[in-house]
Subunit: 246 residues, 2 copies
């Protein structure tokens, strides 16, 4: 059985990371048996090293190890990075539903490159809140490293007052670009229509992150569910059967 | 028979515009009979107005009329903008090859949004050269309006010396992003594989523009044909049967 490595939190479902959600959505969609092993932030590097998984990037002058990662005892392969995992699962388990349907990989990669910048305004809302929802070892690590990245305490990244109103407006406009693309298919709820592909799990992973970290009852999440004729609520509702955290 | 409105130049094939090429590729690929009517830059607004075609944008405080445009006497419809024309042709002539295959429209729109910024470094090389290849009425208009847009004479936009080397390096890196996406399909020569879609005509329109304006024998075009394992030459070669200017 595949081991899936994810970062826990104190949220009821434990899962919170947009990146690990992308891989979990793939595993659940494909119906591949797996179990989750929860790894706190400061332990990611040691865990990946012990599995022989190289760093996924080199940032701030040092190697950077990230989750999601999986270990597949059937092939003996361990790897990190949600896109690499999705490609590996498509190739290794071709009888499961494919997330990069034939001919769509180049388009999906371009979609992801175009989609990523549209998320930028949302991080200021979700990351400061997340800091208080991680377990102590991850919280300490997250607050220290993210504060260094932003050049100020991660808690101070959260906009307030008039700036909050402005930033939230930007967030809506930004995801409106994505709504413009999705509208073009007419149908839905997914990017290619009724059947999800990897890009949907990417978008879905980010929406799931926002819903769980901001909180289902937060003003922000309730607002998002009303945007663009309820597109984002319908999108997540469409992914319901792939949302089990196991 | 459809009338297709394009902007002429003194180049042997007359056609040079990346935007009108997108629509010509669609018409040729679909095998829909049409004839080209050549409109000089200063006459575009009057021609579109006479056909009842609204401006495609509002820039610099005024309405902006652009080509390509078509007039279809079968339906009585006239419209501008290459994407709108492609969608119109797919819908109106569903028995011709479709350029937005079912389920791919959202992905193609995202591709175009991600692709457009990768072209930025190329304009400094092609637009100043183009100025000398237009007919006098278009040349005067083009030089005046583009110089205003760039804030300096369009001829001075052309980089030279060390800056030229640096800018050309940027251009290669930029289109390398697109190569990265296309590689993901493994096959080729097109974005979805063997069959072109609208996004291919978009990329192809830009490549055709560069090849004809820079000149097939220019150092720059010869260089481009060697980039990324000859991908861009193979791409244009794959579009050969849709390149007639009629």
């Amino acid at each position: 059985m595949i081991t899936f490595y994810d970062i826990p939190s104190q949220l009821p479902q434990k899962a919170w990371s947009p990146n690990t959600w992308k891989a979990r959505y793939c595993l659940n969609y494909k119906g591949i048996p797996y179990r989750t092993e929860w790894i706190e932030f400061p332990d990611i590097e040691a865990k990946c090293s012990s599995l022989g998984i190289p760093p996924t990037s080199h940032k701030f002058g040092k190697d950077h190890y990230t989750l999601p990662a999986i270990h597949d005892p059937t092939t003996g392969i361990s790897l990190a990075d949600s896109i690499a995992i999705a490609e590996y699962l498509d190739t290794t388990y071709p009888d499961t539903p494919i997330v990069f349907p034939s001919g769509t990989a180049a388009l999906q990669y371009a979609f992801l490159d175009a989609y990523l910048p549209t998320l930028r305004p949302f991080w200021r809302f979700s990351l400061p809140v997340l800091a208080d929802k991680l377990n102590p070892p991850s919280a300490e690590y997250f607050i220290r490293t993210r504060s260094a990245m932003w050049g100020k305490s991660i808690r101070d990244v959260l906009p307030s007052g008039e700036e909050r109103v402005e930033e939230w407006k930007k967030a809506k406009e930004s995801v409106g670009i994505v709504d413009g693309w999705l509208k073009k298919n007419g149908e839905g709820p997914f990017i290619m229509g009724a059947t999800p592909c990897f890009a949907d799990f990417f978008v879905g992973g980010c929406l799931t992150h926002l819903k769980s970290v901001l909180g289902e009852d937060s003003e922000e999440w309730k607002d998002i569910t009303t945007w663009h004729n309820g597109r984002w609520k319908a999108f997540l509702d469409g992914l319901k059967e792939y949302q089990a955290v196991i």
